[in-house]
């Protein structure tokens, strides 16, 4: 028995002496958590009649990406050309039973698993598909698509043949001609679009933890062509260095067209900024006309919080709410305002496209450009007490910055590092820290000091165990001379 113990102690000592020390690329952060989500087009259907255990009942994200990281790191990247909401997407197996997974998605995890390898992809053609990759520093999900088209696919199949090719994580491109993904008439009635890019990234740098989301698309056609948008580009970013979090974002939305008539606002486009930037008003005629047929448009909604080392940011480019009841009435009235609008459409069979759609639900909400990020980190213990940087009650400032190139920076005033993982710029206020209290990195401590410390800890543990035993015995010894403490009964 003693010989075994001696061998064990020798092996442990040798292992300690040969321990290579931490890798240089490791983060100095003690803990971190965050998620980035990008959804270029987000359609939500609210109809309590639909028998699904979620609210809203239908939640469809076109070009969904999500990257989340927790301390460890333990991370997951998910990319889906068509995401049915988290309830159905993540809980598909529970809803349908068995171990089934929602098919139109790829995942990567760190640590990697068979179902979610470090790199994963499913694509229709080269560069047109869903991609994820994940390692100990970067979690990344991307959807690149040539868009969604609305051909005469079988309405009962609901998913067109193009989308079907993404089933089963097929890794090889089997279609040589790049074509937009074909979807059902119902979905195409709600939205078609081109050049979709959705990307979410979480990066663990040496001193910062960063999450970023990017969504863009062009030639967006909503409600069978009733509303069109030239394009949009949205970004969001949260950075935490363990002491302070900073959010930033950028939004750009092109012209909006109603019934093919482009309505330009501002400088050839609608520039949407953060809450404190006054939006150019939509023309009253347009707003009132749309309201009469049950459509309301809200532009640029952002929420962001910075609370010490935690930051969250969410931005939505355009939120279009459609109340189908007045729309259905308008559609049936030949001389109503919708009739006038339809008459302006040169060739689009709007009535046909919308008729099946309007039987769907009392209300649906279409969000153009839905991006959100969150990042929270805490510093590693340095032996010098708690960090002395700014804590809690961070500003909720709506930031701002100058408008340029039709885009508007949104978020807080200070700018985070532009490259994930790099240090904040010099202008970022750095919390003061007493250098004399900093401990050297583990790799720089002499091995004998580590061994000595371990021996001290072991001795202290033994003393505490004895003390604990004394306390557990309510301060008295056993009347029968037994030692006091809690044994491991499993050792027999």
């Amino acid at each position: 028995m003693k010989r075994k113990m001696l061998v064990l102690v020798s092996v442990a000592t040798a292992a300690t002496l040969m321990w290579p020390g931490p890798a240089s690329g490791e983060t100095s952060l003690g803990g971190y958590t965050g998620t980035a989500t990008a959804i270029p087009i987000h359609v939500v259907v609210i109809d309590p009649v639909i028998p699904l255990p979620s609210d809203p009942q239908v939640d469809v994200g076109v070009g969904f990406t999500r990257s989340s990281v927790d301390t460890g790191p333990v991370s997951r990247a998910t990319a889906s050309y068509l995401w049915p909401g988290n309830v159905l997407g993540d809980g598909f197996g529970q809803l349908v039973g068995g171990d089934a997974q929602y098919p139109i998605q790829v995942n990567s995890k760190y640590p990697a698993t068979d179902a979610a390898p470090a790199k994963n992809l499913a694509q229709l053609t080269d560069g047109n598909g869903m991609y994820t990759d994940d390692n100990d520093t970067t979690t990344h999900a991307k959807v690149v698509g040539l868009g969604i088209a609305g051909p005469d696919t079988n309405i009962f199949s609901n998913i067109g043949k193009g989308l079907g090719k993404l089933f089963g994580n097929k890794k090889d491109a089997s279609v040589s001609v790049p074509v937009p993904v074909e979807v059902s008439r119902t979905l195409a009635g709600i939205v078609t679009l081109q050049n979709v890019v959705s990307e979410s990234t979480a990066t663990l740098g040496p001193k910062t933890f960063t999450t970023s989301a990017h969504a863009t698309a062009s030639d967006i056609s909503l409600l069978g062509g009733l509303i069109s948008i030239n394009g949009f580009d949205m970004t969001a970013k949260s950075v935490s260095d363990g002491k302070k979090a900073v959010n930033t974002g950028h939004a750009e939305i092109g012209g909006i067209g109603i019934a093919k008539n482009l309505i330009t606002l501002g400088d050839g486009s609608i520039n949407l900024g953060s809450a404190h930037i006054k939006l150019p008003a939509l023309p009253d005629l347009l707003v009132n006309s749309l309201k009469e047929i049950g459509i309301s448009i809200q532009s640029m909604q952002t929420t962001h919080t910075e609370d010490g080392a935690s930051g969250t940011f969410a931005a939505q480019g355009l939120v279009i709410t459609v109340d189908t009841k007045p729309l259905r009435s308008a559609l049936n009235a030949p001389f109503g305002i919708l009739g006038q609008i339809i008459s302006m459409l040169p060739s689009n069979p709007l009535t046909q496209q919308l008729s099946s759609l309007l039987n769907l639900a009392p209300k649906f909400v279409i969000t153009i450009g839905d991006v959100s990020t969150s990042a929270s980190a805490s510093p590693a213990f340095t032996g010098g007490g708690f960090p002395t940087g700014p804590t809690g009650g961070g500003s909720n400032g709506d930031g701002g910055g100058s408008v340029s190139g039709g885009g508007v920076p949104i978020g807080s005033g200070s700018v985070p590092p532009s490259t994930p993982g790099t240090q904040p710029p010099a202008s970022t206020p750095q919390p003061t820290q007493n250098a004399s209290l900093e401990l050297p990195g583990l790799g720089k401590i002499p091995r004998l000091v580590i061994l000595g410390a371990l021996a001290l800890v072991a001795a202290a543990a033994w003393l505490f165990r004895m003390l604990g035993g004394f306390l557990l015995g309510a301060g008295r010894n056993c009347a029968y001379g037994l030692s006091t403490g809690v044994p491991d009964l499993r050792k027999g």
Binding site: Q94, L472, G473, A474, N477, C478, A479, Y480, L482, S483, T484, G485, V486, P487, D488, L489, R490, G492
Partner: protein, 251 residues
């Protein structure tokens, strides 16, 4: 432990060379001013099943609460595996290998069967292993794994409670009124599982009001009355003591 004792002298039947897994010496406990345990002496040898019998109010459940650390004794000594543990906390005792299946099952009704079993993984065992073992031992739980525990039948809830206790890999299992509210056939089936668990070397202290099932699987038995252990011995010996206690000597 072959001698039937009708007093509350010590009952040290285990061989002195190997300390018993549980030894209680003159244990007293009270709820406020009401003394419930009045000097309990009891020994559970390692690997044995001991059935602790007695009428309602005899102090059986209180004794289990004291052993599992949920209640502090006011006097006396508790030894586990040859060490003095009086006053140890419930979590320390659970880590040491003492696990209790409480009266009324204690399942979480709003969690699924599987989620209830996951709770056993706090002991440090891998959840896959816990589930595999539980479903192997109780196939019915596998059929019900996605179902809320509150929607299970009484017998199924008792299976779940037992499976969750076993998830902690106990060395000493304390079972409180396993048969309560269950049909006789279900009770027999549960005690069959208890016998299997005992065969794997787990020491078991089972508290029961209804003696026959517990005595069927027990190696030893003890009778409590008025807060004391009034008789200990082998099951067949104890049956006659019970008859005397309950029916005044008539069978």
């Amino acid at each position: 432990m072959t001698q039937v004792e009708h007093d509350h002298n010590h009952n040290h039947a285990a061989p002195r060379s190997a300390p018993p897994i549980l030894e209680l010496i003159n244990v007293h406990a009270a709820y406020g001013r009401i003394e419930v345990l009045r000097g309990v002496d009891l020994t559970v040898p390692r690997g044995a099943v001991l059935a602790l019998l007695g009428a309602n109010g005899a102090g059986k459940t209180t004794l289990l609460r004291v052993i599992s650390g949920l209640m502090e004794p006011t006097e006396g000594d508790i030894h586990l595996g040859g060490m003095h543990v009086s006053g140890a906390s419930p979590d320390a005792l659970t880590r040491a290998g003492v696990t209790m299946v409480p009266e009324g099952r204690g399942v979480f009704p709003n969690l699924t069967v599987e989620e209830n079993l996951w709770l056993g993984s706090y002991s440090g065992r891998h959840v896959d292993k816990i589930l595999t073992e539980a479903y192997h031992r109780f196939p019915r739980l596998k059929e019900r794994r996605r179902q809320l525990a509150g929607s299970l039948s009484g017998g199924e809830q008792q299976m779940l409670s037992l499976a969750r206790a076993l998830a902690a890999d106990p060395a000493l299992l304390l079972l409180d009124e396993l048969s309560m509210g269950l049909a006789p056939l279900i009770v027999e089936s549960l005690y069959d599982r208890v016998a299997e668990i005992a065969e794997q070397g787990v020491s078991i202290l089972v508290v029961e009001q209804f003696a026959s099932s517990a005595l069927r699987v027990a190696d030893y038995a003890a009778v409590m009355h008025g807060g004391r252990v009034v008789a200990t011995g082998e099951p067949d010996e104890i049956e006659s003591v019970l008859t005397e206690l309950y029916f005044g000597g008539t069978a």
